[in-house]
Subunit: 317 residues, 4 copies
Amino acid sequence: MGNFQMRTDLALEARESITEADSELRGVRVEEYYHEEEDIRVTKVMIDTKNAAKAMGKPMGIYVTMEAPAMVEPDEDYHREISARLAEEILELLPGADNEQSVLVVGLGNREVTADALGPQVVDNLFITRHIVKEYGTAAYNCRKMNQISALEPGVMAKTGMETAEIVKGVVEQTSPDVLIVIDALAARSTKRLNRTIQITNTGIQPGSGVGNHRNALTRESLGVPVIAIGIPTVVDAATIVGDALEKLLEEEEGLENVRYREKQLRFAELNNMYMTGKDIDAVIKRVSYTVSEGINIAIGETFLENCPQNTEYDPA
Amino acid sequence: MGNFQMRTDLALEARESITEADSELRGVRVEEYYHEEEDIRVTKVMIDTKNAAKAMGKPMGIYVTMEAPAMVEPDEDYHREISARLAEEILELLPGADNEQSVLVVGLGNREVTADALGPQVVDNLFITRHIVKEYGTAAYNCRKMNQISALEPGVMAKTGMETAEIVKGVVEQTSPDVLIVIDALAARSTKRLNRTIQITNTGIQPGSGVGNHRNALTRESLGVPVIAIGIPTVVDAATIVGDALEKLLEEEEGLENVRYREKQLRFAELNNMYMTGKDIDAVIKRVSYTVSEGINIAIGETFLENCPQNTEYDPA
Amino acid sequence: MGNFQMRTDLALEARESITEADSELRGVRVEEYYHEEEDIRVTKVMIDTKNAAKAMGKPMGIYVTMEAPAMVEPDEDYHREISARLAEEILELLPGADNEQSVLVVGLGNREVTADALGPQVVDNLFITRHIVKEYGTAAYNCRKMNQISALEPGVMAKTGMETAEIVKGVVEQTSPDVLIVIDALAARSTKRLNRTIQITNTGIQPGSGVGNHRNALTRESLGVPVIAIGIPTVVDAATIVGDALEKLLEEEEGLENVRYREKQLRFAELNNMYMTGKDIDAVIKRVSYTVSEGINIAIGETFLENCPQNTEYDPA
Amino acid sequence: MGNFQMRTDLALEARESITEADSELRGVRVEEYYHEEEDIRVTKVMIDTKNAAKAMGKPMGIYVTMEAPAMVEPDEDYHREISARLAEEILELLPGADNEQSVLVVGLGNREVTADALGPQVVDNLFITRHIVKEYGTAAYNCRKMNQISALEPGVMAKTGMETAEIVKGVVEQTSPDVLIVIDALAARSTKRLNRTIQITNTGIQPGSGVGNHRNALTRESLGVPVIAIGIPTVVDAATIVGDALEKLLEEEEGLENVRYREKQLRFAELNNMYMTGKDIDAVIKRVSYTVSEGINIAIGETFLENCPQNTEYDPA
């Protein structure tokens, strides 16, 4: 099926639509594995050709999806076991992870809109080191070798009057990080994926994606440095869910064409610019943002820990 | 039509469903007027009998709905002209408004969830006077006669472990206000009413209403003092909007019964505890909360202004 | 020395002033011990007689002070080892800790003023259970026996128009907790104690204490239930620090009387209603509030853990 | 007098120290006028020579100080009359105000520390237009001619790991504004000036100024565009106030030299990195930030109002 153009930021969901029709799409490789202890299912979708990219509606690159049902549940340590697995996946996509790097983490989204606050809240809990290392050297942390972390919350265009991409580009040119990690709240097609799925990709941020519909790209092409994007679906597009519900219900009904036609009218009138989210979204965002920041803190901050003889551990704020 | 049980907190919408079937329901009177200059349409639904209350699914009392399309738009003075009309409607429902009164304003909802933050944000902008008048008398404001305003943000049960009604009841018993004004974000059935409609009622808050689904009543019966509820619809229930969309589309289709049956299953599985709201909800809530607080400040704070010879105006913080 | 009346909320500091003059004050017992591993120094001041209470300027009762220098430093686990020691001290002061209890935690202070936000931020991170246990029983957590936690953020008088004591009393009467734990940011006399000292006392909150100068008492006498107060000094009173500085400098100078006289004038004019705090107070409050909430979560939430056979640990949100 | 090196960000205060010793400093011109109706005293200090700049400890340029005692008091319209006067002063310092311009407003400071949140809160209430004008032209506002406003909240180094100047420079290079307006909370020497004084200068931001002690300059030299800085003193440096108090008290005492010596030791030990502020700083910042944003909205947003025939007024959000 999949005739309606459903909006999803998840490559996993894009692939599901595809494979129903054409289960052996060339140029798309899929790997799956399961971490039993942590109950995390990892799916890697690798889009290798331009044709495959077109069919999937996603650019070429690697998309890792971690499905971790425990993530929505409260946990004293904010699911550090999930953070640890996330750190592994980040490091695998990070070019040059064997050497010291300066990593700029960009928290996209709007702090004032709960479902869109993932990026800003992740940035709040990072262990920022760039300014200290720049001024005092890695010796300030008793380390011989360590990465530098900086962070930016660019804000949304309605509040800045500027494209996010303009702000990020300017800061990248001034501070010359080796790599960007960009965090964003995503839109999913299915409510079942909300808040329990992490997507990590080396393709950066595409125009029109995310809860806030960022219009310009944040990619290696546009910024000149590698961009890893980490996202969690926190909303379902309102038009999408209505369309999905209709489709499920009407599969066996007649007059489907007529319904589809009218459904399209509906989407652009009433439901545009609306999204659907859960009633406990504040508690959920607070929790999953810790899980993500800790994943980054481990991946970037703790990589060269053996080079810090007197310090057995960093202390993220 | 109207077979699905749509959730709406607006008496206006409840009445619309009703009157399609039975346009002259006994025990329900409706008055309408239009303020041309401010483009505000006011509808008063008066439910006078128990039968009418049953048919409407709302308790007996007066429900005033102000539809003010300008409210969603930016305005330097936060639409003080709407606040002034709101103040008139509040005063009309306020028992004993000719005498000095102590008014407790209760801001329901969850400050951390943007669409549910109306109550807390209204409370933030009130001109609080009770503590000053209690300590220094009305002379502190150069007045011979004035009302007292106090305010409470009780929080939500997930964060307090207590029913809102328990907290409010305790505070009412300790501080003995003459009347309560309770503010809450509401759920509407139609996206067209979102953020541009104010409902004022003398029936208080009913169980299960509001974005946060408060479970216990805040009414004259339960609290022992008159309760005026002011609400603005900021969300549409996700199940409701899917139901509405289905119904519109399927009116002419066959097999409707089957569809309805499946729609019900869907509602309680996937869409429960989800709501739909606009992408600019943060800016909207910020604005409309000012309009409402200013309405209360005018109605309660400025009523006896002629008794304040040296002060031509109060200064809300 | 000590002729100026220094404002301090810490019994430890009150005692220091005293013992300079009279090192064996009757009715005051002091116990000290040191947890070497965690570098926590605990001082228990027990004021046993009315005379001693008068001399100390603090009511009769037990005052435990934990000095934990590590508390101001970043730590991935928010110093869980300090939380664990805090839990021990809370349990020791908690009457009837052997039985299941309903505990209401009250977060005093003003969320909008960083140095006064300790109470509200502690409350944000508690593991609230009362509403679940009330509705579904302890079985909801797979426990046979467990305490209930509820929480209240009453706000400050300038925003509510009500005394904190009125609000708390009303809620206590409606919800009948067995014991109150009240959290407040305190004023210290010495900058050296800021943010690294926790005071736990069974005497509740006294009028005029705390950063926000709460005017009414929250005590067993006023509320009818035992009240444990937990406080951390986050500010130094501006007048106090000027006085201290003066005193230190002038010890050997002549003309001291004249200086003192003028210093008093100064205090009540310019420095009144001002306080002094550190420039990184936001990061500090965020951290220490976690340490305190976790201490409460352990003390109250995990006490009967052996009664929860299938759950080895609670999951605070 | 004035031997201690007192920290103040106010040129007015710097001049006061100077003129006690040397009332006719060459190269410093001073103009004063008084708006009687609004009770605003305006002092313009013009530093014209390098020598004068050295003596004052402030760079060459114009420093306008508006003293408006009413500003600390609540007012329904957030003192629009002060905003209007502020707008006049901004326009006078704004180069090229006769032509359409693109103005970037930068809100310095830390949103999480109340006394340092002036910049971020001013930015929250600006009427942002750049993105609309860029996409739809000035016709979107029914204007033939209008300025563009954009805004940036760069955050503080402890949270970003980057110098504010790096971020601002990058954004300036990408978005090419014609002029910058930079907002910052300042440190005053006297508590009497707190929150009721606005300083407007065309010299930008100097290293080490502001509550957050920004280390790098934001000036025409460093950024390549004119920089107007608007600041309000919200804190007094702790060391400064102790020094001031000492000095006042000791003027007639003997042994002053000894005292001074010890005072210096004190400053760098205990009081470093501390500041003093008022207990109602949250309400004050909320109010004065509105006054400033409205001043900017009038100066930049309403300048070409006569070019907007169908719109008599802009509508700031």
